[in-house]
Subunit: 356 residues, 2 copies
Amino acid sequence: MDEVFAVIMAGGSGTRFWPLSRSAWPKQFLALAGGNESLLQQTVRRLAGVVPSNRVIVVTSEQHAQATREQLPDLPPDNVLAEPQGRNTAPCVAWAAAHVSARSAKAVMAVLPADPHIGDEPAYRKVLQQAIEAARDGGMVTIGVTPTRPETGYGYIEVGEPLGAGVRRVQHFFEKPDLPRAQRFLADGNFLWNSGMFFFRADVVLGEFERQLPDIYAFANECRKRLKTGPDLEFVRASYAGLTSISIDHGIMEKAGDLRVVPGSFGWYDIGSWTTAYELAPKDAQKNAVRAEVSLVESEGCYVRGEPGKLIALIGVHDLVVVDTEDALLIMPRDRAQDVRRVVEDLKAKKAKHFL
Amino acid sequence: MDEVFAVIMAGGSGTRFWPLSRSAWPKQFLALAGGNESLLQQTVRRLAGVVPSNRVIVVTSEQHAQATREQLPDLPPDNVLAEPQGRNTAPCVAWAAAHVSARSAKAVMAVLPADPHIGDEPAYRKVLQQAIEAARDGGMVTIGVTPTRPETGYGYIEVGEPLGAGVRRVQHFFEKPDLPRAQRFLADGNFLWNSGMFFFRADVVLGEFERQLPDIYAFANECRKRLKTGPDLEFVRASYAGLTSISIDHGIMEKAGDLRVVPGSFGWYDIGSWTTAYELAPKDAQKNAVRAEVSLVESEGCYVRGEPGKLIALIGVHDLVVVDTEDALLIMPRDRAQDVRRVVEDLKAKKAKHFL
């Protein structure tokens, strides 16, 4: 049986978790889902028993490579690939495919985002195994999550006919819907949330790149050749900026042949904002989610996050997000989480980069 | 002409400005009214031209004596009297009277709280001079502030017949009224706010102590005798705890003979809570009063106070008080300022004394 590699995409530099996430310390390094493990550490640990750590590859930015290696001391340092620029996810997957291919041409790659929350890990690992198996014969596989609400923040997958135990044909990918459409998707029963997890053999995905994104294929093929005799980093640095910037979803998956989906339910949550972090967090009787030293007087429904040794006192407030770090403090109603970017834009405009 | 001394009562240890005020750093040390001077420093500076600094006496607690001397480097260190315990204001005034009397038996004492805000300092100094003059012949004098609104947070003075230029008889002192009563006081036109500033000769107030509070008189008289030959501190430490604990208002002024009041208008404000601090502070177009590095998105009517180098971002909130210090943060609606004590009580109950 061919080997299995995990490719974790950890290129995020999002601003939605400001002020806890910073350009130098993005979301995947944060413990946003309870406990002390970062999202990235959880994503790697969850693979235990499925993919050994020497076959876990993490693609991140040059800026974050060092912190990534420090957060994942069990990984061989060379398994952390540092992108010289962000070029969306297609070049990232192709580069990782070159590395996998250089080690084992027909290995299955499990391409996983660094930052989802997964509530039921045993169920997740079972689905993961099914998806890996479904990719062994050359299929392009994704995992679809059975929806539990008319969520407008996720993409959807319409499923087609069964292809075997636990595997269905992908009928169509849909972008994030509006609410009426999301409600129809949920009622229909034939739609799954797109988890952004993809499974394919290295040779198969490289074949799709050759067909759909030839410039990226040429890049990956050159990397693969160079890796037979030495490092590819000099070549990557010289050529990465010129690659087509496109997502693996749009660039490859949506136009690939033989698309399959493994449906699953494993408490999957895309932690996309402070609102989601609040929803996932354990709460007290007043529905406050607290990760700080606090004194709360008649306050309800608040998400409070602080630093050790700092007291946060709330009197008579409700449904606020309060995130306090050493040099920045954010206060907003829980339903304004999408506007965190406006603070980030304001700070950029003020050239207050030390707060970003 | 006999000398004039100022006696500044700086014994406060209030909790209404937590977390900026602490047991080790109370309100009078804070710059609460704009600018960088503390309330205490402003109170002393305002006396310039009326009372020279070597005749300004500050009574504070032992705990705060050192900080008081540091905030007022122009005062002779011996002019800061350190109470071994808080015994309300009557013993404090009597002790100061002993010190004044030992230096000049018939000197006029201007007894002033450490922490009012005064918007019109020239007008204030004029009223101060009038009150001092009105005390020279043996009267007990207070300053009454012409009310501008039906304030329920202050005591009131009903004025009687004129006694000369700018001086009226005190008819009666009233405690803080309810709103209908405060409205009647305002409409009546014969009522003034009690500023808590008192003026009398040292010999006259000691005579009133002898008549009304003989234990405190005996204490003050013994201090006065000892001061002729040396310090009185050992005696004060041994006897202070046993003195009647009562305010100068209730213990002396209300039952004194020949009570006079000088009415005045000089932008007087008792900064009693964060709500008042907001009212006094300069505001931007969105009615935010900001003393911090901020990024404000659709936020109005907030009082924001932080430390240098710390960014405070508000999104979509209104009428909040946000006070951020190195080790404690307070967030509440502006109209909940009276509940700050509940946090302080909570912290006491939790034995989290380092935050107090």
